[in-house]
Amino acid sequence: MNTTPPKIRLRGVCKAFGPKVVLDGVDLDVGVGESVVVIGGSGTGKSVMIKCILGILEPDSGLIEIDGVDVGKINGADRDALMGKFGMLFQGSALFDSLPVWENVAFGLIQARGMERQAARAVALQKLAAVGLGPEVGALMPAELSGGMTKRVGLARAIAAEPEIIFFDEPTTGLDPIMGDVINDLVVKCVRELGATTLSITHDLVSARKIAHRIAMLHDGKIIWQGPVADIDESGNPYVDQFIHGRAEGPIQMQVSG
């Protein structure tokens, strides 16, 4: 049992932009079929961490392994095959604004997997329905969507190819509480039905409690606490306590200019 490597493994990952150190030795494991939620203040580098795992950003040092393979050492076709395992919901959704909604969702199926357009369209409409959007939305252009709809289309695109590992960057931000809960259920369903491994980022603790098996808190470039979701209220960690109660006073000093 101990011989299976974790799905995602980060060791000592560092990333700086010029003089600004964002990640300063992140260690994190995500097991197969596990759902880990990373919490942390704005600008602590949560999105940067995910982009490092995806290979969009190159870490300055440290080790990132997917299924035991060091992603820093692979290139070309291996890299493409690896990307095929990933689905990603971007914080800003990042829909292709020159393509209609259904083609956005079907993009990976058509372009990377060579699926027939008609078949891919059917899958896309099905995924849109899963995130609560009717088939009429499929014909719209991304510029015609509301913020919440944009987010849901981004989500549909992330799960369209049924990837093994899905990253959600703030999946419920900008949604009303009911739709937020629909999305939470969807994330839970992905994990259960697809057997997918998920790594999510959220500020929304209701969401975190619902979708996470494990919660990790990123602060000052490091994971300062991680544990099962049930332990979050008794973490004994003043940073986590401050964060989950949303208090302005505490060890975390928000950078407020003035």
């Binding site: 982009k51 995806l54 689905g87 990042a94 292709f96 993009f107 372009q111 990377a112």
Partner: protein, 268 residues
């Protein structure tokens, strides 16, 4: 430590400024070379996106026709008038046809078409790719297993390289026709005579050199559009800067390459 005299400080400041500019220049050349190499490699290795390439070809070739044709016909007309009024001073009006066709095919066709397309295409490419970059659409491509060089850059480079020569060939014909119109209708040339004079001294090399220029300009314009778009950062302002840089750098490079190619073809 001796304290530097004030005039030394000025010299140091000037020198370090020059050094910084020079280093920045080298860094840019390096980045551009890497980008070009990578883009070229993805132009010749599968998968190819034919639909996207054709769409770019239509955009560059077909939709640039009106502006390039307009430029060409007026240039041909002006050339006929100017050379007639100039050459009549030493009774060399007979050379008008030759001057028009040589100027158009060797120089004005490719250069003016290049400048027009640089403004039209280079800027819009940089803006489109730049917006995709700053809204993370390029990152999204990567996560969907699509290589952005193949999907975005290669179709544009191929289209630029392939369509500019065709565009310039059309511009050559329209330009010569513009000169012909003026010569026949306004300057009382005999149409048959004018045409035979047009082709009498025209060599294959004149046309070919112009088409080679066109291909190089097409490559430069699309490369600059893609490069500046791909490296833009920081929202709307960054995209604006990328657009300006793409247009200005392609205009300058067109002028430089125009000289180099002319020298390669015609320097004795």
């Amino acid at each position: 430590m001796t304290i530097a005299a004030p005039e030394d400080k000025v010299i140091i400041r000037v020198l370090s400024g020059v050094g910084r500019i020079f280093l920045n220049f080298l860094a840019t050349v390096g980045r551009l070379s890497v980008f070009t190499g990578r883009a070229l490699r993805h132009c010749v290795t599968p998968p190819f996106y034919f639909r996207l390439t054709i769409r770019q070809m239509i955009d560059i070739g077909y939709y640039s026709l009106p502006v390039v044709g307009l430029t060409a016909i007026f240039t041909g007309m002006v050339l006929a008038l100017q050379s007639y009024s100039g050459f009549s001073r030493f009774s060399a009006e007979g050379a008008v046809a030759t001057v028009v066709v040589l100027s158009i095919t060797r120089e004005l066709g490719p250069v003016l078409a290049g400048l027009m397309v640089a403004g039209r295409i280079g800027g819009s490419m940089a803006a489109e790719i730049g917006t995709m970059k700053v809204t993370e659409q390029i990152d999204a491509l990567t996560t969907l297993s699509i290589n952005p060089y193949k999907y975005l850059v290669a179709p544009r480079l191929i289209a630029g390289l392939a369509m500019m020569p065709i565009l310039v060939l059309v511009a050559d014909i329209i330009g010569v026709f513009g000169g012909f119109l003026i010569a026949v209708n306004k300057l009382d040339f005999n149409p048959a005579n004018y045409l035979s004079r047009t082709f009498e001294f025209l060599e294959v090399k004149d046309v070919v050199s112009g088409l080679v220029k066109a291909a190089v300009f097409g490559f430069v314009i699309t490369l600059m559009g893609c490069y500046h778009g791909y490296n833009s950062r920081g929202g709307a302002q960054g995209v604006g800067t990328a657009t300006i840089n793409a247009v200005v750098s392609s205009l300058i490079l067109i002028l430089i390459f125009n000289y180099i190619i002319t020298e390669l073809f015609f320097a004795i």
